[in-house]
């Protein structure tokens, strides 16, 4: 249960955004809308306690975020604008690393299904560097599924994805919210996803 109370951030005495408040209740989706450079990524980073807000505060489970930061991190997955899979290694290695490093309880069958739905299953032995950018972006969602944490914080998840991938994205968002998960993501176009709260920056 994440609550952000009239957060405002200044960088080099330039106001990026002012008293933004939002609350992330399990089961709902929040979208951050705004033009490029309107501070969407800064807000997401502030929620992750990477950026220190100049005013306002963020609460997680009732306590100040700084107090129980690592408990918050246990429930959060973050997908940034850059693809985090290791280009030098094959897809299989990446999956192994993710499975081990995130100690994820997702079994191989589920990964198999996810790969099929993302249509990445025949690239298992290819190096990630050879995949197209769209495919590596889809790979990020595989990590999302493998970590399977409660809170998803996504930065521009729908950029350069093709039609049916966006369709697939909506599907996974609904499943996740169904299972008491919550999502906050930023997007500069209008994705047409059912959204419970909308923040315009």
């Amino acid at each position: 249960m994440l609550i952000v109370q009239d957060l405002s951030i200044e960088r080099l005495d330039k106001k990026i955004f002012e008293n933004i408040s939002l609350s992330l209740v399990p089961g709902n989706i929040t979208i951050l809308k705004g033009k490029n450079g309107s501070g969407k990524t800064t807000l997401l980073k502030a929620i992750l306690n990477i950026i220190e807000p100049s005013f306002g505060s963020i609460y997680w489970k009732g306590k100040l975020l700084q107090k129980n930061l690592y408990d918050f991190y246990n429930h959060v997955t973050y997908i940034g604008d850059s693809t985090s899979s290791l280009k030098k290694l094959t897809l299989r290695d990446n999956i192994n690393i993710w499975k081990k490093f995130f100690i994820s309880n997702v079994n191989d069958a589920q990964i198999e299904i996810a790969l099929k739905t993302l249509r990445l299953d025949n690239y298992l032995n290819k190096k990630v560097g050879t995949l197209s950018f769209g495919e590596t972006k889809k790979l990020e969602f595989l990590r999302l599924i493998m970590e399977n944490k409660k809170v998803w914080i996504l930065d521009e998840p729908l950029s350069n994805l093709d039609e049916d991938s966006i369709e697939l994205m909506k599907q996974t968002f609904e499943d996740h919210c169904g299972k008491e998960g919550s999502i906050i993501f930023s997007s500069h176009q209008n994705p047409g996803i059912y959204v419970t709260e909308e923040i315009n920056l």
Partner: protein, 232 residues
Amino acid sequence: MKFLVNPSKFNEMADYLFRPLLILSIILFAIGLLFSFYLSPDDYQQGSTVRIMYVHVPSAWLALLTYTIMTLYSILALAFRIPFGFIFNTAVAPIGAVFTLICIISGSLWGKPMWGTWWVWDARLTSVAILFIIYLIIIFMNLSFENRIVREKVIAIFILVGSVNLPIVKFSVDWWNTLHQPATISKLSKPSIDPSMMAPLIIMTFAFIMIGVAIAILRIKTEIISRKSYLS
């Protein structure tokens, strides 16, 4: 004491202080040079080569003093979030570098007659050379980071890490009985320097301090102005 921490207060104090400081330093330099070249006697061992001491020793003190003050301001800036510390670091680094350079050049000029070589790989000399290169790195860092916030803080962290070298420079003479003579003035007992030679040394030190502070005031003011224009 607010002007040591607050930029606008510093500006007021600076306008008020700068002119007298400059005049005073010129006067002190004149007297100091006069004393050190004509009015003070030769040394019983070294003869007139000892006069280099009147430039070498003050510049060495100033080099170390500048770095210690920069370390203090870095701690202030990082731990207590006082932005003036960053302004001070960027402004004063070249002044410290120049003092260290004067110290090294005058030292090697003095070393030639006394030790027989321009440069000896000796604990004190190497650590002063490292100090000089640390100053240079601080200046280069000022030029190589785009983002101002990152640049300031990384420089402050580097100054703190580099301050490990300060005690080495200070105590290198006592730790390793090296070629460089032990500290003359810092001895708690009667300083082993004759009053007639002490006078020019003190005058020259104050002259160096005055000129250093005057230039520092100028550079800090320009730094404050450049930051304001950058922001508006």
